[in-house]
Amino acid sequence: MKILKHKIFYIRLLLVIFCLVHSSCTNEKYKESTDETVNITEYLKNNEENYSLFLDILEISNYASFLNTYGTYTLFLPTNEAIDNYIEESGANTLEELNIENLQELVKLHILETKTFTTNFNDGKIATATMQGQFLVTGATNNEGNSSIVVNKESRIIQSNIEVGNGIIHVIDKVLPIATNTLAQEIESREELSIFTQALKETGWYDFLDQPITYDQDSISSHLSIIAQTNNVFASSGFNTYQELKNRYSNLDNPANPEDSLNLFVAYRILPGLKYVADLVTSPAHNTEAPQEVIGIKLAQDTVLINEQTFNGILEKGVPLNRDQSDITTTNGVIHLVKENFEIKKRFPYPVYFDPGDQPEIRRLASVFRIPGQNASFSQEDLQDVDWEGSNEISYRVDTPGGGTYGHGYFADVIEIHRLRDGYINNLTFTTPVIIKGTYKIWVSYRAAPSAPTNVQVYFNDEALSRQINFTEYGNTSQPERVLESQGYKIPVSPQTNRFNSRLLGIVNVESTGRHKIRFNSLSSAGQQTWIDVIEFRPIEMDQIYPRFSPNGLVEE
């Protein structure tokens, strides 16, 4: 019995031991929240020593709770020092003395409703507007050897890309200023732009530049960009007063008349859309408020040139933009300054012999471009001015000049589309070189091929041309050339060969000087390559056969 008692005791003891040994040494800690990342407002509270004043502004303007909700925001966060400076500049002593509405606008200007990392910045505006509506401009500056990213030219980012639960924060050392002037007011406020201001007023454009932003049915804003010029620039072109400018340009003696040259002179400097310099340099031509007129933009090293181009074989020097003084933000647009006077380029229709193989990317391949026997293939992303449906590549080919398969053509090169049809490559679109406004006949010259597509519809700026093109049709060398021309055919090359043919596709009225789109849409199947040599835009009053194309260029025979 005693033994049994002992036994029970031992068993109990063992159980206790067992429990003791097997209980874990440390209690496991369970996380009670799903996420411990703080939100923007919380982050500010945790770092009050640096950001308490912005937190105060949020409280005063009732945005504190808003910035603590879930979402994807980008906050440009001014430090306490930055806000102190802002208060001082506003002529106040404390935050409370400032107008609440102004503070609300100010807060909204510092917030984007997307997450924008500094890696998304470029030399111009951030793609999304602030909650206030104005866009912010980014860039980088160097100050005594130290570079930093800047917002709106003056606020340096001192700590970037801080990720918090509901977005990211960039800390800035200066409060972002809200633009309060319209384009018109801003220009007028600058003494050095007085002649330009007067020209704006006399021509009536002043009021146009003084309107608040509106949005059309497609949500496209009424932002404008203007290229202004200072009195000094006017003076260096011989205009010391507005009167002298008027005497020179105003041909109808009524600047308010939209047809008056001074009115056009001003209109030519106003570009629709919000275009900072970084936006200007991404496109070679921009529309202006002068009807059908465009300005050309070229980036030469780091200088932005207006209207520099080689035209008719002659280089026309461009006018440099004053980059440092440009990108001035206003409520309804942006102002740039130019270093020299410039005028509307008056030009008459001029033939364009567009060699579709003459693409900037192909030209860069100097060991291929127009070098006999060479070829190269390109996918869509490779060529910025060519676009098509289908994932296949198009080729650029150069043959032996005057021989081979397509060596008789213009510079002995062609663009080859392996199969121009649905399911391979179709809707091949080229952006043309600059075409002066006017009326043109469009010819397409090609190397004929027996199994190429027979029905290809060509569109100029999405407008179907009256005739289709049949790439299997060979040239006719027996008919008299003028008879042939009247039927809409010609032999485009010299020396002549029936391998090359050219088809007149229609007459178009090019309404604005600039670059346009031409699209080839095959309606039939294709069993062979299509070779396009030249797309011709000949003014209607010009001879439609001569000059012809040779492997060495244009010839009059």
Binding site: V21, C25, N122, N142, S147, Q159, S160, A278, R323
Partner: protein, 489 residues
């Protein structure tokens, strides 16, 4: 009595810590003690350093990225990642994965382990003699030096860890050392390695694939050029040249195949030996899913084009460094000047140093020592044997140091195209004399910057700190002693 026994049992059982109780690994250090016993162990550890560099395909690619992607000869291809594009456009954050230096420190630790533990084997294994041991140490020292050299050129100030990390108790909280300190350590290690070094292993593959005296001399020359110690740089290059073991191979149809396709040629000093067993990623990243392509500068200007006679070509250009149509980087994927390698034969070596670079380093040193005429003669010698064309010829005056320096740089861009040198070459020359040639970096950026980011890029690059990569954010979290490069704050 029994209660006592049980109590003892209880105490004994309950004092075993949970972690140790569940731990199946041998206690700390046993593996090491069992391993470092024989000379075969030492040899295996040294070979392990090389095989780590070969088997981690990212390593050679990373050397390419650090040396080329910020330069003006490479642009991101269609399959480039955002991180690669950001590196190319000076748009770099500390979250960019390409700033992770982990793989470098991993190999450095392999070297440190050899340097720390190999000497004790001398007592354990009588068949290991002093000389043999020194040979192994020289390899570990030289590779460690090269890695720190690369890190300091890339990140500027980096933590210098010179002893092996053997267990978790080691101190990982190491502050950065300045770039200068790192360079000096590199020189010290290389000098020690040179003293211990082996000049001939008796077979070609090892002479080109392992550290030799000449590989060390080439590294010394390189490091001395960064330290602006031109007399010592000159001495180091002369050691390689005077050995008579190397020569430039005359131009022929087989030149490319011999030097690059096959590798280990008489032009070669030290190459990473990829092989059919250890393939690299080159065919993939340069061709099939191209992440890198030749810039338009590399295609058109670097080697030049003779418009009158397109047949007249620099042998280093078309079908050697590049294939112009398609802007393809050909150097690492060509079998010979006609055929490319394939995915299953992508074994082109990575070229750490070739003889021509030693010659060009000598020219650079000579020019800085005001011996311009001799420097020009070296450049001309290389140009002649490579059939460089007239359009790329410059005629600097013998006393025009700046123009000669430009000429050498241009020649380096032809000779060493895509070999992970370009950015470092321009940076090395630009930073001399208190950044007297900052213009070199800016004009390099101008030639390749996207138009809408050009101004930002130029302004960033005016800050010398932007020329170095940031320390990766994860490193900053784990090592609180690190201080970020101020440009990236």
């Amino acid at each position: 009595m029994k209660i006592k026994t049980i109590l003892i049992l209880v105490i004994a059982l309950s004092t075993i810590s949970c972690n140790d109780y569940l731990d199946l690994r041998p206690p700390n250090g046993t593996v090491r003690q069992e391993f470092w016993k024989t000379k075969e162990d030492v040899q295996a550890a040294v070979i392990g350093i090389y095989s780590e560099m070969v088997s981690n395909q990212d390593f050679a690619e990373r050397l390419f990225i650090y040396g080329e992607l910020r330069g003006d000869m490479v642009i991101p291809g269609q399959n480039a990642s955002d991180n690669q594009i950001f590196l190319n456009t000076t748009n770099i954050l500390s979250t960019n994965a390409l700033t992770d230096w982990g793989m470098f420190y991993r190999i450095i630790n392999f070297c440190n382990t050899v340097i720390d533990l190999a000497p004790q084997v001398l007592e354990e294994d009588p068949t290991l003699d002093e000389e043999e041991l020194e040979g192994y140490l020289s390899e570990a020292l030289a590779i460690r030096a090269y890695l720190y050299f690369t890190l300091a050129k890339t990140f500027k100030d980096v933590p210098l860890k010179l002893d092996a990390t053997l267990n978790d108790n080691d101190n990982f909280q190491i502050p950065t050392s300045s770039q200068e300190e790192v360079f000096l350590q590199v020189i010290e290690d290389l000098n020690q390695a040179e003293e211990y070094s082996i000049s001939d292993y008796g077979n070609l593959a090892e002479n080109k694939g392992r550290i030799t005296t000449y590989a060390i001399n080439a590294m010394q020359a390189d490091a001395y050029l960064w330290l602006n110690d031109f007399t010592n740089a000159l001495d180091a290059t002369n050691k390689v040249i005077e050995s008579g073991n190397f020569e430039l191979i005359p131009a022929s149809n087989s030149w490319f195949g011999t030097v690059f396709g096959e590798g280990n040629s008489s032009e070669s000093i030290f190459e990473l030996q990829f092989s059919d067993e250890n393939l690299n990623s080159f065919i993939n990243v340069f061709l099939q899913r191209a992440e890198y392509r030749a810039s338009s500068r590399a295609v058109t200007e670097v080697f030049g084009i003779d418009r009158q006679n397109p047949e007249n070509q620099d042998i280093r250009g078309e079908r050697a460094s590049i294939v112009a149509s398609g802007a393809e980087i050909y150097k690492f994927i060509g079998l010979n000047s006609e055929q490319r390698k394939t995915t299953t034969t992508s074994n082109t070596h990575w070229f750490f140093y070739r003889y021509s670079e030693v010659l060009l380093m000598k020219a650079e040193a000579l020019n800085e020592l005001n011996r311009g005429e001799e420097a020009i003669a070296i450049v001309e010698e290389i140009r002649e044997i490579r059939e460089a064309i007239e359009i790329t010829e410059l005629n600097p005056a013998a006393n025009d140091k700046t123009s000669i320096s430009d000429y050498i740089l241009a020649e380096r861009s032809r000779e060493l195209a895509f070999e992970g040198k370009r950015w470092f070459d321009v940076l090395r020359v630009a930073r001399r004399d208190n950044y007297a040639r900052l213009d070199l970096i800016l004009s390099m950026a101008l030639s390749s910057a996207p138009p809408n980011q050009q101004q930002s890029i130029l302004n960033k690059l005016q800050d010398p700190n932007s020329h170095y990569l940031p320390i990766n954010q994860n490193e900053l979290y784990t090592n609180k002693q690190l201080v970020q490069n101020p440009f990236y704050n």
